[in-house]
Amino acid sequence: MDRIVLNWLDRAVQQYKDKTAYMDTERSLTFEEADRISRIVGAFLQGQGAVPGSPVVVMGARSVYTPACFLGVVRAGCFYAPADAEMPAGRLRQILEVIDAPYMIVSRMFLEKAQELGFAGKMFVLEEILEQGDPESYDPGPAERMTDNAPLYVIFTSGSTGKPKGVITSHYSLMCYIDAVQSVLGLDETDVLGNQAPLDYIAAVRDIYVPLYTGASSVIIPKNEFAMPDRLFRTINEKGVTTLCWSTAGLEIAARLGAFACEVPQKLRRVIFSGAVISNKALRTWQDHLPETRFINQYGPTEATASCTWYEVKEKAEEDTRLPIGRPYPHYKIILLDEQGKEPAPGQPGEICVGGPVLALGYYKDPERSAASFVQNPLNTAYRDLIYRTGDLGKYREDGLLEFLGRMDRQIKHLGHRIELDEIEIAALQVKDVEECCALYDAEKSLLYLFYSGQATAKEIALQFRAQMPAFMVPRKIKKLDVLPKLPNGKTDMRSLREMFS
């Protein structure tokens, strides 16, 4: 039985030694080379006196060395906390304060930025470690003594206000998720994944760990190619990419920038997406150009290790399509709870709650918020049975598939009515030529806002709302933007939008 991700790495090195594990546009690493780097980094940290079970911050570039460095931290018996150098300095400082790590490894290109963050521990440059390091002095003992519920990484959720929450994921949880997604994707050593997500972000765990589990390779696509669609699909074809595990924002950008007009991916067999409700127009563009490709919608919070449900899209996306989020992956348990903590009647909405070995170990150094989010399953009074309350609403359709109904905390009280802002967004997305949108409420002025992008006019949206919705649900301020502001994880930056209230 596999205990930690290093078991996968060791097996991959034996089985696929000289095969490519990770590549970017400048270089590639075989499984053996990635393993060697992990041993160099592991030995270096041990030489510095790193205590097993302690965190190491990694601020890496979009390069093959970054996933190898993550594995190096694990080799030392430690866990990694990836940091995105492109995040605002204020946010990075908050993250460093919470994690309070003794060591930080940075890519040379980010050294200057990292030095300005007031990091109290020791800072090392990854390239220098690799030049001087010696894999022979590596001591495998600490990693051998790790149990499967040892932390693997701490990933900070972005976007929320206040103190950042560091979600702690164990080796076993991560291995359960990778096993689950592999049971749906069915990859083998001939497959190539095209990485889009920033490597410090939860969505990148597939691109980092699926190769170790299956022998497939991952290509780290340069960020600027997403701005230049001509390059994007050319790279995908040159590298023979067969599988994309992308954020919905990534798929939407490629469709909007007209990437398919330049080149069509030739070998793409599977596209799996998550992060937000995908625009039907963008999904249809992908489906029309790739009729043989499987498209899979995923749903899930970082707190339950990446994604907990999946749905294979068989239908062609139309203007009014509402994709379900589907059924739970293996290793995941999903229950719905109503406001009284009971199971809602069939077809009625409830809070989506997740259980199983995929639950995070909580929020780093934050017992209060951990206790509030990870709670005893109220349906079980017989034994300890933790669930994570997602704060999302869902309901079962008649065919037994789960449907996502939006965030619970996006429920507002407007003119005496309870309104789900997500419901307004879903309605707006069904207006022709609305590409993306965000509904927000200015409680001070009792004004319902809708920000959107696309060719539709504000008048068309208002007319359609008036034809279909009660008057109190019609946004009074409908503002068109070229593009909605985004957070680093690709989700809409609601705080920036709030600043546009007039």
């Binding site: 669609p229 950008i253 920038l257 330049c262 070229d482 593009v483 985004k486």
Partner: protein
């Protein structure tokens, strides 16, 4: 050029478009900036920038963007 600078500065007030020569190559402009920029240029200059025009050479500097706009206006 002044008009173009005004458009660029509205989208990214934090970037010095006079000196930056590798806006795309260095990752200064991201995909969301490009979407906004293409929309603004199409509207302001009455042109239609096509996906094939979205290559780094056309967007790496203010001069390159101006050259693209001029070329598309002449077509």
């Amino acid at each position: 050029m002044e008009e173009l600078m005004a458009i660029l500065e509205e989208i990214r007030p934090d970037v010095d478009f006079e000196t930056e020569k590798f806006l795309v190559k260095d990752g200064i402009l991201d995909s969301f900036d490009i979407i906004s920029l293409v929309g603004a240029l199409n509207e302001e200059y009455d042109i239609e920038i096509q996906p094939v025009d979205l290559v780094p050479e056309n967007f790496n500097s203010a001069e390159a963007i101006l050259a693209l706009v001029t070329r598309l206006q002449d077509e």
